[in-house]
């Protein structure tokens, strides 16, 4: 899998710098009442690029992508822009969004069994997507559904088409979900924790499948996960989210080589506070602040081992450390030195 990194760079190279990204989020804000759960997110996804989104539970990873596709309940207000090749789809009509959903943008969710309709055969659920986005019907649709099942590695595809979700394993259901997301030949695949609900051995298989399909179909990929190591396997670039904001973003290589936000360090298990416990996420003390309890400055300040008074003064903005590396920590530059000497 590591060997594929070269491929990815070359596919990114095909888009010359400055070309319109496939998707660009500008100031995307999602709020419950007046409280933002996603606060002014800016993000570009290039064609063929694989971007990993990581962060603890409640940091706004899912809400961001549901907001982009207009899938949030009305109780959550969405502002800002999501430009799909320069066309803003935030607030677009239902007709327009329905073409994008499952068409240009495919979605895969966390819990495959409950994400499939329990009273409909899995084949029919894939065929429905084929009918919507490719106008396929009858025999042609079934043939294509079988091809997709084979593509995602479902054995005995012809018979499995007529199964119900409860008759398949979790891993197979996730493959069905993937086949369904591929049915519209998407340019961007958003996979929201596609492996969290699965057995460890199956997780690796599904991840490898997503990675292979992405390359074969030259899709862009947004892979959401709790786990930095999972996204590092597959993604060119990583976005670290916390409390609805981007804390750090950079190429996978530079983010791992020089993590430049204490939160990222925490996720990586490199921060001094983690000494007692080897697990990554559970070992950052404290929890993600609730939207109604947001600190005035840096949202990570209450949990940060390197916090200083200036951190609670104002919300830090993302600043460039390198062309492909940004951090929202005001002490980003000092971090390597601080890490050597321990927290102040």
């Amino acid at each position: 899998m590591k060997g594929s990194r070269g491929d990815r760079l070359s596919s990114a190279d095909r888009d010359p710098a400055g070309a319109t990204p496939l998707l660009e989020l500008r100031g995307l804000t999602v709020s419950v009442g007046h409280l933002p759960v996603v606060a002014g997110l800016n993000l570009k996804i290039a064609r063929g690029e694989a971007v990993g989104i990581v962060g603890e539970s409640g940091s706004g990873k899912s809400v961001t992508w549901l907001a982009v596709l207009g899938l949030l309940p009305g109780s959550l207000a969405v502002e800002g822009e999501a430009l799909l090749e320069a066309e803003n789809i935030i607030g677009a009509s239902e007709q327009r969004l329905s073409q994008v959903r499952g068409g240009r943008v495919g979605l895969i969710f966390q819990d495959p069994i409950s994400s499939l309709n329990p009273v409909q055969r899995v084949g029919a659920q894939v065929i429905e997507a084929l009918r919507l986005h490719r106008g396929l019907r009858g025999y042609a649709a079934r043939t294509e559904a079988r091809r997709l099942f084979e593509l995602v590695g479902i054995p005995d595809a012809e018979r499995r088409l007529d199964r119900y979700p409860h008759e398949l394993s979790g891993g197979q259901n996730q493959r069905v979900m993937i086949a369904m997301a591929l049915a519209g030949e998407p340019e961007l695949l958003v996979a929201d924790e596609p492996t969290t609900a699965l057995d460890v051995t199956i997780q690796a298989q599904i991840l490898a499948l997503i990675e292979r399909l992405r390359r074969e179909m030259n899709m862009s990929l947004v892979l959401i996960s709790h786990d930095l190591s999972v996204v590092a396997e597959v993604c060119d670039r990583i976005v670290v989210m916390y409390a609805g904001q981007i804390m750090e973003t950079g190429s996978t290589r530079s983010l791992f080589a020089s993590p430049s936000h204490p939160y990222t360090k925490g996720l990586l298990g490199a921060a001094p506070v983690l000494a007692q416990k080897p697990q990554r996420l559970a070992s950052i003390r404290g929890h993600v602040p609730e939207p109604w309890n947001m600190p005035p400055g840096c949202p990570f300040e209450p949990r940060c081992p390197y916090a200083m008074p200036a951190c609670s003064a104002a919300r830090p903005l993302l600043s460039n450390l390198a062309p492909d590396h940004q951090s929202a920590c005001i002490r980003a530059g000092e971090l390597p030195a601080l890490a050597r000497h321990g927290p102040t």
């Binding site: 549901l66 596709l69 899938l71 239902e94 007709q95 329905s98 073409q99 994008v100 959903r101 499952g102 068409g103 979605l107 969710f109 819990d111 409950s114 994400s115 499939l116 309709n117 329990p118 009273v119 409909q120 429905e128 997507a129 919507l132 986005h133 119900y164 409860h166 008759e167 979900m177 369904m180 997301a181 049915a183 519209g184």
Partner: protein, 307 residues
């Protein structure tokens, strides 16, 4: 599968037998049908002759045995009052009852399910609350109160509709409204909660995410799932339909099965009562079986043995 079906039918027959057996014993033990029919002043010789003629002097188990044997020959017994075969009598009353039950059921289902789905799709809005307030009201007011209020307004006060009897189709309106109100109210609440629950399921989000319009999400994904518990409720309502006739028919003096059972119990016309109960019990058991069947039809998770 065959074994399962056989067991099912055997259990159904046993249920009906138990119901009929209990009624059989209760009717004969609670008071002496001969005395009730002939009157307390009848000479003892006449009472004895009556008992002998109807077999009431035999031991209870023997009477029951003859009764069941008769049933197997298709004889449902004769009225103690006039010796007429009870089956045509009960049968004609069933039809009269169905005249109000079928429209009431149809209206109840139609109004209840649509109101419930409407409220669910407008979950937590004033419209939802309005519908649900109506449903709670319809559900809480007992049938006889609603019936009497309707009679007071539309028959006594406004004089638009007859207060009882079944002389024309217009007499059916008030009983049908009374019956369907209760059913619609129950179904509205049930449908609403079922649809609301289904709409919160992840597969609904999946259906939207694949590009279906909301309408199609509702029709193709939400309703088939939400229908499962609703259909069960309807099945049980149908099963209890004949039993529910008693109150409404009394209020509107609708000469159906409900009235027949009230008068027959009072007169200790045991053969008639038994025949009605046999019918009611059979209807309940059959509707339960239908519900089970529909359940497996609607919900593939309940179908066994595919692998």
């Amino acid at each position: 599968m065959l074994l399962f079906a056989t067991k099912r039918v055997a259990r159904a027959i046993l249920t009906v037998l138990i119901v009929v057996g209990c009624a059989f014993a209760a009717l004969r033990l609670s008071s002496d049908p001969a005395l009730v029919v002939l009157g307390p002043d009848a000479p003892p010789s006449a009472v004895a002759a009556f008992r002998a003629a109807w077999g009431l002097d035999q031991p209870l188990w023997q009477q029951f045995f003859y009764y069941i044997a008769g049933l197997l020959r298709g004889e449902f017994g004769r009225s103690l009052l006039n010796g007429a075969d009870v089956l045509p009598l009960v049968g004609s009353r069933v039809l009269v009852t169905l005249e109000i039950m079928i429209p009431a059921l149809a209206i109840g289902i139609l109004v209840g399910v649509s109101a419930g789905a409407y409220a669910a799709l407008r979950h937590n809005t004033p419209k939802d609350r309005l519908v649900m307030m109506g449903a709670v009201a319809g559900f809480t007011v007992p049938h006889f109160v609603l019936g009497l209020v309707l009679v007071l307004i539309f028959a006594v006060h406004l004089g638009w509709l007859p207060s009882g009897g079944n002389d024309s189709w217009r007499s059916a309106i008030l009983p049908v409204v009374t019956l369907s109100t209760g059913w619609a109210a129950v179904l509205a609440r049930f449908t609403r909660s079922s649809v609301v629950e289904v709409l919160g399921q992840p597969y609904i989000r999946t259906a939207s995410a694949k590009g279906l319009l909301w309408r199609a999400v509702i029709i193709r994904h939400a309703l088939p799932n939400a229908a499962i518990p609703v259909v069960t409720t309807i099945g049980f309502m149908v099963g209890g339909l004949l039993a529910g006739a008693v109150v409404t028919e009394s209020v509107f003096s609708w000469p159906g099965l409900g009235q027949l059972i009230v008068t027959s119990v009072a007169a200790r016309d045991v053969a008639v009562v038994q025949c009605v109960l046999l019918l009611v019990a059979t209807a309940m058991v059959l509707s339960n079986m239908t519900v089970d069947f529909l359940y497996t039809l609607l919900d593939p998770r309940l179908r066994g043995g595919r692998h």
